[in-house]
């Protein structure tokens, strides 16, 4: 008989519900802020929830086989797994000695899940979107890795909780000059991770009509919306833990996440889209150079 830790289970479910709701709120804030920057009124802040509800209420849903159904669920599961590795206000379900690496790569897995499902649909736009997505992922790995190496070399640990604790004592990461450079690199990569404007080449709506998402509708799309909400929460929380000193309660974390999100929104609303080759060239040039300088400064 295994003893069941009910408190832990309830905490995990609570964090999950909180993450989904706040993720939807972030998506709403994103749309509203973009609208206000363009001097429009914009949708209500709970609009993504209405959209998801509508998608769930669709009366039919096209399926292209098992892998097509499996893709969004795989993506959602990977996002949730990444979320449970991140220390959110003293709560961390899973912990290991190298959870920074685990989270950094679990945050990339959802994109692969969506691509898996999209490729099985056989739509040419999906295939094109997947090609672009894989190229973007390859391009952003190098600066992403360099930023994380600089961070790890400075704090000397792979544990997210220890990084957060060290920042509470010695000041946030961004107050260290070398890590400020790493922060800039990470923020550029972050834009591509969120799929926001200079690097939204994967789902370029005007070119390849939503890319991998073109065949998804109905319940599949609702799962993808939920996945995006969790992903947004997890990524902003990861950013806040790495560079903005973590958080001891949910309110502080929320404010830090909001700050990170607004940087991304402001950047997204003024820049046009890169083409694929421009994005790859850009990633392998400026962020990589800044990242190498950051790594060399921390040695």
């Amino acid at each position: 008989m295994v003893a069941v830790d009910w408190k832990l289970i309830l905490e995990a479910i609570g964090i999950l519900i909180y993450a989904i709701l706040v993720g939807f709120l972030f998506m709403g804030i994103e749309r509203k802020a973009m609208a206000r920057i363009q001097r429009r009124v914009g949708p209500p802040i709970y609009q993504p929830l209405i959209d998801t509800l509508k998608l769930l209420g669709k009366k039919e849903s096209i399926s292209h086989g098992f892998i097509y159904d499996f893709g969004p669920i795989f993506a959602l599961a990977a996002s949730i797994a990444a979320l449970l590795f991140i220390p959110i206000a003293n709560f961390q379900l899973f912990s290991s000695n190298a959870d920074l690496i685990v989270v950094a790569y679990l945050l990339e897995v959802p994109m692969l899940g969506i691509m898996l499902g999209a490729m099985s649909s056989g739509n040419p736009f999906s295939a094109l979107g997947v090609q672009r997505g894989l190229l973007t992922m390859v391009a952003m790995q190098l600066p992403y890795g360099l930023a994380l190496i600089a961070l790890v070399q400075h704090w000397g640990t792979f544990k997210l909780t220890e990084i957060a604790a060290l920042q509470q004592v010695q000041g946030w990461s961004i107050t260290v000059p070398a890590l400020l450079l790493a922060f800039i690199v990470f923020d550029i990569v972050f834009q591509a991770m969120l799929g926001l404007e200079p690097f939204d080449i994967i789902t370029a709506p005007a070119e390849i009509s939503m890319g991998p998402m073109v065949e998804y509708g109905g319940k599949h799309a609702a799962i993808l919306f939920t996945q995006h909400a969790v992903q947004l929460f997890a990524e902003t929380a990861f950013f806040a833990v790495l560079f903005l000193g973590g958080a001891s309660n949910l309110l502080t974390l929320f404010l830090k996440q909001l700050a990170v999100l607004f940087i991304a929104i402001f950047v997204a609303s003024i820049y046009p889209r890169f083409t694929v080759d421009q994005a790859a060239k850009f990633f392998w040039k400026w962020p990589t150079i800044i990242g190498i300088i950051a790594v060399l400064l921390t040695v």
């Binding site: 914009g42 949708p43 959209d51 769930l56 039919e60 399926s63 292209h64 939503m210 073109v214």
Partner: protein, 200 residues
């Protein structure tokens, strides 16, 4: 609901109109009304009337309306102007790709009765014979305010359940199919599909 599908019976469509979910129907109706995604398929001259709707002056995103390039996710199909038989083929294919419930809003006089093209040999005079239309806006071209009014009308109809074009299309599929085949000839779907197979 009667199940009248295309020639392919097992085309991988999952239908779920379960009685258990009827309780949530008012909630779903409200959500459908507040989140209409437009299929960006601008036919005819009315397509140019859509950008003013999206920009700061009228801003249809206030009502949750968003242009969506993928027909699988779309809810509202705008037919913005005259329809030729060549366009009508695409319209029918796109409409059948969209997932229930789906709504059609037509702009201008041309889809109603041909408009200024009343004696043209290659304009579809009465679009209602080929696909079900929920709301038509008369005028040549209707102003942006009129389009806004049409969108308000379709939102009202969705909430009250009057916008049932998708159901009419299912129930009277033989009628619509007969009219389509009269215009294009038997087996036009297969011929169209064969032309596109090389690209897939």
């Amino acid at each position: 609901m009667s199940e009248r599908r295309d020639v392919n019976e097992n085309d991988g469509v999952i239908h779920y109109e379960l009685q258990e979910f009827q309780v949530f129907e008012p909630l779903f109706r409200w959500a459908r009304k507040k989140s209409l995604w437009i299929v960006a398929f601008c036919t005819g001259c009315g397509g140019i009337e859509i950008p003013p709707l999206a920009t700061a002056r009228y801003d249809y995103e206030r009502f949750g309306i968003m242009p969506n390039p993928s027909p699988r996710m779309g809810d509202l199909f705008l037919i913005t102007g005259y329809v030729t038989p060549k366009t009508l083929k695409r319209i029918i294919v796109t409409y059948e790709m969209m997932q229930d419930p789906k709504y059609i809003l037509t702009h201008g006089s041309c889809p109603i009765n041909g408009g200024v093209y009343w004696d043209s040999y290659n304009v579809v005079k009465q679009l209602d014979k080929y696909i079900p239309i929920d709301v038509s806006i008369a005028g040549c071209m209707p102003r942006v305010e009129a389009v806004m009014d049409g969108i308000m009308e379709i939102m009202r109809k969705i909430e009250s359940g009057e916008a049932d074009g998708w159901r009419r299309y299912r129930e009277n599929y033989d009628y619509y199919r007969k009219n389509q085949d009269e215009l294009f000839g038997e087996g036009w779907r297969e011929k169209e599909a064969k032309r596109w197979l090389a690209w897939i």
